[in-house]
Point group: C2
Chain length 202, copies 2
DNA sequence: AATATATCTTGACATTGTCAAGAAAAAGCC
DNA sequence: GGCTTTTTCTTGACAATGTCAAGATATATT
């Protein structure tokens, strides 16, 4: 941690932190590994030892992203009423909220070719996010999507609509939604998220 | 056109063609301007005169993408029954189809920061694509989304679900859908696209 | 304390986007 | 037709980037 020390102490964590800052400031397309090193106050080749190539750093960052992604949804759900539909809406709003507040990271997680899709940690984190969605649907529909193909269609439909909203919002499309106050926007988003459910009969 | 001619004849078109090939082969994150020039058989600085910086070439390519995007949907609609719901499903399937067969181009159009969003041609092309969606919805619901906010919510919901499906499919997520035959997949996609409509009562 | 290992730096290389200057072809002009 | 002007493309250069190899320095091991 001291200024002149050859050894940093916890450079790995510092690099991840710096990488996230670099990502959110420069965007994913102008992201630079040397820029990350500069932010962390180390030489340009320092990241290599901890993460190998740039891919490695971005893979680790994407995994962290998925963890925080789930946490954001859960925090949102804790503040919401405990009935299944309110919980579903809260999870969806958390999904969109995360995307809007971590645009470049969201893009890294869902739209980038950089992260290594064979990485065990990343796969575990993204699978956890998917499983959470499946369980939330199951909670409403009572049947397990993994064993009921109709329920799995519900999962895909719900995922698609929430993801589509998130992706179009951060792309700057959907201006009518972007131009309103956050609370108004979330009212409409909730409506869109819930109307989609075939299990609306509940 | 001849091998040794200093002047190409129609380099601008050739560069756009080469850029699309480069894009689909290398992906948007490994896209190289010098690679495009090499494909067109021209020096590395030749593109500059026609498109300025790399941004310019990608902006022009994105605009062309939006035009073909609309055409793909229209071709699909021509083959479908003329009732509004079948037309809506056809447009949605065209949307997804375009994304899957032009993955990198689709990413350039919707997820990239490169294209200049102030470019008149690009804005005209992307607005045309949006207007087409609005009209298709209007065709079903009978009310103009531009004057009926409830209808505009229908537009956003429909757009989101179709876009979400497209984006998640080309991201390699939604494996259960990717692993099936195209016809089976499209059956489910149609169902998802249509179920979303609040105007389902029709 | 001596050696071994892990961690970081330095220097180099090929590749990339961009710019400036110049060459070649086409067009304009008499 | 010859001459100039303009457009189109090439060449050469520059800084920035990712990656690699070799070396320097701190920590761990014995």
């Amino acid at each position: 941690m001291s200024k002149k020390s050859y050894h940093h102490g916890d450079l790995r964590a510092a690099l991840l932190q710096a990488a996230e800052t670099e990502l959110s400031e420069k965007g994913i397309e102008a992201f630079s590994l040397r820029g990350v090193a500069k932010r962390a106050g180390v030489s340009h080749a320092a990241p290599a030892h901890h993460f190998g190539e740039a891919k490695g750093l971005l893979t680790a960052l994407a995994a962290i992203g998925f963890q925080r992604f789930v946490e954001t949804q859960q925090r949102r759900q804790q503040k919401a009423p405990s009935n299944p539909k309110a919980q579903m809406a809260a999870a969806g709003l958390g999904y969109v909220d995360f995307a809007m507040e971590n645009q470049a990271l969201f893009r890294l997680m869902f739209s980038s070719q950089q992260p290594d899709k064979n990485d065990a940690t990343l796969n575990a984190a993204s699978s956890a996010a998917f499983d959470k969605l499946v369980k939330d649907i199951q909670h409403i529909g009572k049947s397990d999507p993994y064993h009921d193909s109709a329920a799995m269609v519900d999962v895909m439909a719900t995922w698609a609509i929430v993801h589509g909203l998130a992706d179009l919002l951060i792309a700057g499309r959907m201006k009518s939604l972007l131009n309103m106050e956050k609370t108004d926007r979330e009212t409409i988003l909730s409506e869109i998220i819930l109307r989609n459910c075939s299990f609306n009969s509940n």
